[in-house]
Amino acid sequence: MEKVLTFELSPNDGPVMIDRYIADGGYAALDKAIGMDSGEITALVDQSGLRGRGGAGFPTGFKWKAMPDPDTCSHPRYILCNFDEMEPGTFKDKYLALNNPHVILEGLIIAAKAVQADIGYIFLRGEYKKVRKVLEEAIAEIRKKGLLERSKLGFDFELHIHMSAGRYMCGEETALINALEGKRANPRSKPPYPQQCGLFGKPTLVQNVETLANIPAIVRNGTDWFKSQAKHKNGGTKLYGVSGRVKTPGCWELPMGSTLREVIYEHGGGMQDGYEFAAALPGGASTMFMGPDHLDTPLDFDTLKEHGLSMGTGTVIVLDDKTCPVAATANLAKFYARESCGWCTPCREGLPWVHALLVDIEEGRGVNGDYEELVKQIEMIGPNTYCAFAAGASFPILSALMMFEDVFKEHIRLGRCTYRLEKQAAGR
């Protein structure tokens, strides 16, 4: 496998800036794309089977093909790079930008050419100040080299960075559009899809950072090569990461379809001394817990879907045996209750309620029937809202309720948290 996203970098090398990027073959794909027809680029990406890396795994080519014919629709057309990355446990896009910012920009410009966008925005989360600095420097470099000029590209293209003021909701593509319009980041109902009616009512493509970063290699090496990089299905390389009580948490570019065992034990160095693996969320908080029986399941979109699971962002969060699953679930619920945009009643009112019930159980105030009530509430909240936020909230909570049913019921029966007592006894 070729590391086309991160090259062969170690996290301490500092970002690859333009001279080295070009020396390593960077912007050759842009040159090639400039000589291609927009439709050809879109067809190539479509045939590669590239799936969106932001979490949902939606086919990228399908999104591009949905952009209307530029001759019959109004301009400007927008391309938005979703760099919100507020999914708990997710840090892959930050890692990529701090190491190889130009691969993102090259992908963005090629995508702009393919969908004939006039203006691009990088929607960056407010806390990523270091990332902003690196991206601003990289953009200044390509401007200096004339890579954003009409004479080079054959079309006019404006590129801006927007710093978000912080809210998890902004990662949802229609909420992101509202945020860019200077509004509250509530989601919009679909249809119309952003391709038809997006930013300021114009055709808009929203794409995750890592998705765009995959484009240059696809243009350079073709679709067969891209598919051959994966171990199993879905094609390409993937940025996998791991956090939690592992020895060497981090982020690595691995073949798509790598397993939890490889990510946690081979690259993450295994569990810290004194901690055992209990379960893991495979890709950020909005995914379902996977137990030890799934350590060898390939982590790709289609395989996990076949197992009734989801891939999410590919950044694994490990739950160890010393952390109470009830407390961890309450923590997840707190996040969603706090970050819900409040647009839909089940999500706004239901999630704080679920959180309170989980805290009650954790602190020994649970009563018989609470477990069943939680399941009922979560099943009610998940599907009955505008956007995928509530469904995302329901995945980890419901899967924890299923996987750790005994632990939840023991908390209720005993009226206390057994993990906490063990922790105190061990002096941790």
């Binding site: 997710t90 407010g126 200077g182 009580r245 948490p249 969060i317 160890d320 961890a328």
Partner: protein
Amino acid sequence: MLTKEEKNKIAEEMSHMPSAQASIIDALNIVQDAHGHVSDEDMKELADFMQVSISELESVATFYNLVFRKDPGEHVISVCDSISCFVCGSDEVMQTFAEKLDIRPGETTKDKKITLLPTVCLGYCEKAPAISVDGEIITNVSPEKAREILKDLTGGGS
């Protein structure tokens, strides 16, 4: 009071947006960067300058986590309490800050020196627990490290 420099920056942001409203978040960021928060007076002035209504500004300002409508302390400590940091002991870090400062998360010390906030995932999960002090990220924070950070902020006191 908005300075000329802030107004110039806001005007620059507005120049590449098709509507005034679209620059509200940038404008709030600019004012907050300069003053640490967005005061009622600045909201009024901003509304006048941008030609948007105060209620529109307020609806946006109150939605986003990083816009402060109240004056925080001299330093703002935000402790990530999302899942990766939680698993790695962020509760103990938050508890250490709260005990040492004698305030609860969300409050400011009486001398207006430090505001302590819980925050959502900062994106530094590989180096959990992570906190942000005045916008600078500090990683792998232990209770001991938290005490040292406080010492540095309060000039060796406490």
